[in-house]
Amino acid sequence: MKFRIYRYNPDADTEPSMQEFDVDAPRGTMLRDALLMIKEQDETFAFRHSCGEGVCGSDGVNVNGQNRLACITPVADLKEPVEVRPFPGRPVIRDLVVDMTQFYQQYRAIKPWLIRNDPLPEQETLQSPAERDQLDGLYECILCGCCSTSCPSFWWNPDKFHGPQALLTAWRFLADSRDQATDERLDALEGPYKLFRCHTIMNCVEACPKGLNPTKAIGHIKNLMLKHSV
């Protein structure tokens, strides 16, 4: 199979280029396997990866124009030559490795931890299965960044707009029956940027390798905010 890979090494190159590779890809080959074969051909090629099964979220890349996780993307489904680039909109460190600092900052900014003011019970805090079901489709996020780095609003304002990932997590805590910081969380989302830069373009939904729906989560937050303000 033919691959065209984005290459840039700040130690050696003045500007990025695309490099072609040929890879034998037997049935069942995932894109990560192909990238590993390319690395065996050329050890200077750099990309992040780890678990190989779509749970650690390390190997998000842009493939034929779409953000995907390499380890769960079968190459058989891809049009040749397969063009692999780093996530769009992020500073490139080297080859497919990008700087995700702002993405993580936005995650931290929404206070992604459970806040409870009541004294702790001796056993577990009770939660009905129906209440727990509210977290399905939210807690499974693996922080790969496929969504936020495919979002035009995040491209423009990565310092001010939380982006789909952080907002999905914001809703994960707002939706948790155990969390007691609803007012505080909603107040923190006020203003023209943090939440409201979402223009429901829905690239995030398309990009999420775990099938999650950040746009829907953002809609829930907006609804709650509306109720909150009246």
Partner: protein, 587 residues
């Protein structure tokens, strides 16, 4: 150029469950704590744990920590230390409640309590009916726990060094640990982190085998650093092969599939586990089930055109249960095996999964080695917790659901003990230049370019060698052969050359360091295995088929210097209850 330096009270290497649970204790106690991780914390391999964490909450069936303790001792084939096991099983209960309070989205029962499922090797009433002890967040429990622990560390404002690779521990002449030399992967620059205490929480080493459920990052870095600092590794011959990896690929299919009612069949459609474990059947201990699968395949009852695997069937429980309790497995089976478990069985075969052995510690996480005053003297300033450590609670075979428990309980215990250590050791010890120079030499090991062997070539050979010579069944001459081959591979490390001599995010350099670590750890596994003349737990020898308590109820200690082995007694006395004496182990 002068070496960059930072100073902290405590340095934690590794940001999985053990490292992060220790870090929270320290950050909450206002200690200055640095967590160094070669990947962003939520990429750590705790994230991949599926089935759950054991605790005798008795939410579904009657249970007690004492029954949990019995099962763990029996599961360990009596090699586990019973004081540590009692401690872990008691602590399990508050540990799971604490996780829940911290936000872990556990699955729930109708009464609002945490959902618990059946797992292998669990019983009620000391060997009676099947228990339901494994607390689960669907089949993504590790993910749910790791993300929650990271979130709590963000709240506590722990200092993270993300994508820093630890090269070597720095020690003084008394053997005290003074911190570590690390490399910032993004710049390729060295950094010396001085700390009053260093905690190794670097996880497992499954990458030493060719077919493994373990991630690319599980290369035994902490264990190898400890070895090179003169610390032995304990019980490394005990390596768990998980019965149900996706055939030919190795990705994990949780024991929870069998816990939810799934079972294994051979090519004749026979539920063969009934022959190997008449009572527990498919929920026998992992070592037992793995051996049964390999035996079925060897004796010609394997499935598929090559007859090289067996089938794991779950579709009879119905789509609703699979969708609710095993959604991640369904996704993995579809992607990697091309089957929907709601309709078809999953092809499975044992996959290298977990190392029971590791850096010897006591139940406070202190690293203990044989020294002047007996076999277990604490190394000043060094702690270890999680899969890289050996407390030992798993002995010769770990029970499913006890590994998340181990990392959480002993990560926390280590964190708390470090706090008191810091009270008694308020100052940094003087830095030892000779040790820093030695660490710098290790850091510069691959700076010489030119022609040589590539990392990939040597790594492929090594992982194949481990698979062939230290697998599920082991005989003397094959193991001895393996040891010789690993010695040769270790010598050839000197001929490895990196074509890529650049600095910025040089993953080839990281992989070269990892290969050095894997070979050090691989030798510990192979040599400890070749010396143990009995079958116990995961160490199974057709040429010595029986357990030999008279000669071998003892822990192995492998030292890197001159490749020597020593032994120390098992701690058979629990903290408060009667000891469980060794018995025949049947399921």
């Amino acid at each position: 150029m002068p070496l960059n330096k930072r100073r902290f009270d405590a340095l934690i290497i590794g940001a999985g469950g053990a490292g992060l649970n220790a870090a929270i204790q320290l950050a909450n106690a206002d200690a200055r704590v640095a967590v160094v991780s070669k990947v962003f914390p939520t990429r750590s391999h705790t994230v991949a744990a599926q089935g759950g964490v054991n605790a005798a909450l008795a939410n579904v069936l009657p249970d007690s920590w004492h029954w949990h303790m019995f099962d763990t001792v029996k599961g360990s084939d009596y090699l586990g230390d019973q004081d540590a096991i009692e401690f872990m099983c008691r602590e399990a209960i508050p540990t799971v409640y604490e996780l829940e309070h911290n936000g872990v989205p556990f699955s729930r029962l109708d009464n609002g309590k945490i959902y618990q499922r059946a797992f292998g090797g669990q019983s009620q009433n000391f060997g009676g009916d099947q228990a339901a002890r494994t607390c689960a967040a669907a089949d993504r429990t590790g993910h749910a726990i790791l993300h929650t622990l990271y979130q709590q560390n963000l709240r506590a404002r722990t200092h993270f060094f993300d994508e820093y690779f630890a090269i070597e521990l720095v020690t003084d002449d008394e053997g005290a640990v003074l911190g570590a030399l690390v490399m910032e992967i993004e710049t390729g620059e060295a950094l010396l982190i001085e700390a009053k205490v260093t905690l190794l929480a670097t996880g497992g080493c499954g990458q030493v085998y060719r077919t493994t459920s373990n991630a690319h990052i599980n290369t035994g870095d902490g264990m190898a650093m400890a070895l090179r600092a003169g610390v032995p590794l304990q019980d490394m011959e005990f390596f768990q092969f998980h019965p149900t990896g996706i055939a030919g690929k190795g990705m994990l299919i949780t024991e929870g599939v069998r816990g939810e009612g799934g079972f294994l069949v051979n090519k004749d459609g026979e539920r063969f586990m009934e022959r190997y474990a008449p009572n527990a059947k498919d929920l026998a201990s992992r070592d037992v089930v793995s051996r049964a699968i390999v035996t079925e395949v060897k004796e010609g009852r394997g499935c598929g055109p090559q007859g090289d695997h067996v089938l794991l069937q779950i579709h009879h429980v119905g789509e609703e249960i699979v969708a609710k309790r095993l959604p991640g497995i369904r996704e993995s089976a579809r992607i990697f095996a091309g089957v929907d478990p709601v309709e078809e069985p999953i092809p499975v075969f044992p996959t290298a999964h977990y190392v029971m052995g590791g850096i010897p510690t006591d139940r406070y996480g202190r690293v203990v080695i044989p020294a002047r005053h007996g076999p277990e003297e604490a190394v000043p300033g060094l702690y270890a917790a999680g899969e890289c450590a050996c407390v030992s609670v798993h002995g010769a075979n770990r029970l499913g659901g006890n590994s998340l428990l181990d990392i959480l309980v002993f990560g926390r215990a280590a964190g708390l003990d470090v706090i008191s250590y810091l009270r008694d050791n308020a100052n940094h010890r003087p830095m030892n230049t000779a040790s820093v120079d030695k660490a710098m030499a290790a850091f510069q090991r691959f700076d010489q370019g030119g022609e040589g062997i590539s990392v990939a070539e040597l790594r492929n050979e090594f992982r194949k060698c481990m698979e062939d010579h230290a697998g599920v069944f082991r005989v003397q001459d094959v193991m001895d052969d393996g040891v010789e081959k690993i010695k040769q591979l270790r010598e050839r490390l000197d001929d490895v050359r990196l074509k890529d001599q650049s600095r910025v995010f040089n993953t080839a350099r990281v992989e070269a360091f990892e290969l050095v670590n894997m070979i050090d750890v691989g030798m510990a596994i192979a040599l400890s295995a070749a010396r143990r003349q009995e079958s116990r737990g995961a160490h199974s020898r057709p040429d010595h088929p029986d357990r030999d308590d008279k000669n071998w109820l003892k822990h192995s200690l492998y030292f890197k210097q001159d490749d020597t082995l020593d032994y120390k007694p098992v701690r058979t006395k629990p903290l408060t209850v009667e000891s469980f004496p060794p018995k025949a182990r049947v399921y």
